[in-house]
Amino acid sequence: MSKRFFFTLVGVLVLFSMLLTACGGGAAPAPATEAPAPATEAPATEAPAAPFEPMVVAAPDCTYAGDGMGFKSVEAVDQYTVKFTLCLPDPAFPSKVAFSVFSILDKDYLDQTQGDSVVISENPVGSGPYKVVEWVRGDHITLEANPDYWGEPAKVKTLIFRWSEQSAQRLLELQSGTVDGIDNPAPEDFATIEADPNLKLYPRAAGNIFYIGFNNKIAPFDKVEVRKAFAMAIDRQRIVDQYYPAGSSVAINFVPDFFDPGFSPDVKWYDYDKAAARKMLEDAGFDFNQTITLSFRNVVRGYLPTPDKVAIEIQAQLKEIGVNVKLEEMESAAFIDATAAGQKGFYLLGWGMDYPDATNFFDYHFANPANQQFGDLIPDLVKAINAGAVVADPATRQKSYDEVNKLIKEYVPMIPVAHGGSATAFKANVAGAHASPLGNEVFAVMDNGADQLVWMQNGEPAALWCSDETDGETLRACEQVFDPLLAFSVGGAEVVPNLAEKYEANADLTEWTFTLRKDVKFTNGATLDANDVVATFASYWDASSPNHKGRTGTFEYFNAFFGAFLNAPK
């Protein structure tokens, strides 16, 4: 009996002491978190009082960029004016700075986080229509309307991002009403959605290219005859007819047909001719006993809605001319890394446009030393592409691009197959729903009449700060939270003012001056000024900057759009 009493006493004491520490523990840090709060506020309130000290980041000269593109300087002219000076003229500059990868951060916040995407993803501070509440990894992201947003506030208070790789699951969730909108319904489901009065389909313009890539350093694709023969052996019309939804077309050039300059209607791709392809392979001494590996990722993109089916189709088509193909399905990120590193000889890949200019297609793929997916760059092609990128006159540019398209046909670095139509689907009652040809749907303009809008896309974002991202699934989440200097019109591809009210360039398009809005506040309370813009662009450009972290540190898009990094390690 006394033993029992003793144990009860011990138990009560333990419970009591736990309670005490729990309360004490909770009480103790409270003043600690309160204490630094005024400290961080203090400089923020002082800042306006201090005179504005304009920041300048400049390269001594343009030799660091070789003959290619590059920034010469980024400077704050006054508190609300930023000037970019470029080494070479760039007619596409406004489109490039409108791209969400180049969003602007508060300078103090940037210095705090050192531009590390992982750190920023924990607690993103932006100026966009939404702010991040929580990111439950592997499940969903919750965003909330930003009350201090400088533009028109978001219509729906809470925005939820969800994702599923399975198109059947996305459609099922939309039909059952657990989500308000989905991305990329499967082509065979287009009719189902159109027939359903509760749902609405929003077709997305085919601003993309699906291609079959070759690496010219990996046998047997080191021979141009083999690549050409493969190009003739693929029945592209059948692929588009069988596996693509309405609104898709067989590719004539690498760029979609509405690219002007860029598209050359007179440079037609090789006609489908099995017999000629077989003969060309025989003449080239092709070994028909070998098995060729075709690599792909089974991830639905607008340019390739049914990857595994198309892979099987290509396998069967090549079998008809006696070429044995083995399919290799890879994990998405591993596949992208392997192709970009030049490890895959024969693969299915594509490209969705980031901004509507031919430089976005040609420069990234065929004149980008960082990307080795096609093996060695072809010097003639690089020359023609660079010639087209640095002049302003559309007719002169078109002449260069005619040459580019002709050279692509001659060297066959890849087979352009299709421009794929895709779509988003929303509940019929979602006002303002749309599909963006660039894949950046703006949820702030959508209204479903409730306090919560749920969006389901194909994949989980890799981060919530996109300076170092290339995947559209990631960019779409960043676009709701951060603002670039300019933006694209909602559901369109036209460049419109954003953080910058207006911009102008000098006559030869090497100096671009942006005037910022004065009423932009970040969610940490700081206001936007020119130094934020300079500091953010410096973190992208200057490889020696402590803020040049990103996620993997490659900053692929900056490299592809604006040229070389400053102080790049040798």
């Binding site: 399975q166 198109s167 059947a168 459609l171 099922l172 499967a186 065979e188 489901d189 189902t192 059948r238 069988q242 596996y243 049914t306 595994d308 089916k309 892979a311 099987i312 189709e313 396998q315 069967a316 088509q317 079998k319 083995k326 399919l327 399905e329």
Partner: protein
């Protein structure tokens, strides 16, 4: 006269060999009969696949839409449409031809893996049981380790190491099934080893190999047949699961699990594409299970006597 005739037959029945008696019991076992009918049809389908299937299973048909629902002329499908009794799949291939050729693949998979597993299991079990001592301990602990993993998980691990492919998947499933047979054989060997007739053989100077193969192992054959038949069903199911996960057969092979996985996204828009391969996996597994059950009843002397009574 009639009486002697009756006596005659009963006498004849008693003289039947054990194998014939087992067959007799098996044929009287209703579910075993059903199993044999199913398997018989499947085996015929596998043997005459070329004759039965109207198309090449890997041929992508021109002029046919993909994911067409079944079209059977005698059931009212317009005569101007080509006949596809199971419809066409996501690459406009004839689904019926693929299912038919799939039966060949699945039966091969089940039988080859079980043959492999039984062979290795028999050797390990016999050596462990007969030799005893540290060798027994070593072999059986190793088998215990293999059994400690869920079989599908272990085969996934083995395939990941060996590389993706049907042959590697077969190997993995075979390896995973070994412990069952090894234990079975070992337990039979242990129980028979001490019997008087074995000791008699030993006393007469028979060599250990002779004792093992001629006197002991024949006792293990009956349970092995039963376990093996049931094991084929599991092996077919595991192979289909591995292919479904993309670790087994590679496209364009007509493998049932792979066919399911290729079309799992169109389950609502074209349900026939997952229905038929799924149905045939089920039928095959059911057939082997029914037959295995029947075999167990027929071959087990205790059970058969009670069922005959």
């Amino acid at each position: 006269m009639a009486k002697t005739a009756q006596l005659d037959t009963s006498k004849h029945a008693e003289q039947r060999s054990p194998a014939r008696e087992a067959l007799h019991h098996l044929m009287r076992h209703r579910s075993a009969r059903a199993g044999m009918v199913i398997l018989g049809l499947l085996i015929l389908m596998a043997i005459f696949a070329e004759v039965i299937s109207p198309y090449d299973p890997t041929e992508l048909l021109k002029d046919v839409k993909r994911r067409e629902p079944p079209c059977i002329h005698i059931l009212g499908c317009p005569a101007d449409k080509p006949e596809h009794i199971f419809g066409t799949d996501g690459n406009s291939r004839d689904l019926f031809s693929r299912v038919v050729f799939g039966s060949r693949l699945s039966l091969q998979v089940g039988i080859i893996t079980m043959f492999f597993a039984i062979l290795i299991g028999l050797i390990i079990g016999a050596v462990a049981g007969f030799a005893g001592g540290w060798l027994d301990n070593l072999l059986m602990r190793f088998m215990d380790v293999l059994m400690a993993f869920p079989s599908l998980l272990l085969s996934i691990a083995i395939v990941s190491v060996l590389g993706i492919g049907l042959i590697n998947a077969l190997l993995a499933i075979g390896i995973v099934s070994i412990p069952r047979f090894a234990r079975l054989v070992r337990s039979t060997v242990l129980s028979v080893k001490e019997m008087e007739y074995v000791q008699a053989a030993r006393a007469l100077g028979a060599s250990p190999l002779h004792i093992l193969f001629k006197r002991i192992l024949p006792n293990a054959i009956t349970p092995l047949i039963v376990q093996g038949t049931l094991g084929i069903a599991t092996a077919i199911l595991d192979a289909a699961a591995l292919s479904f996960l993309g670790l087994g057969a590679e496209p364009p092979r007509p493998e049932w699990g792979l066919m399911l996985s290729e079309e799992r996204n169109s389950i609502f828009s074209a349900p026939h594409l997952v229905f038929f391969p799924g149905l045939f996996i089920m039928l095959t597994v059911l057939g082997f299970n029914l037959l295995g059950d029947g075999l167990r009843d027929a071959l087990d002397p205790r059970l058969s006597r009670s069922s005959a009574a």
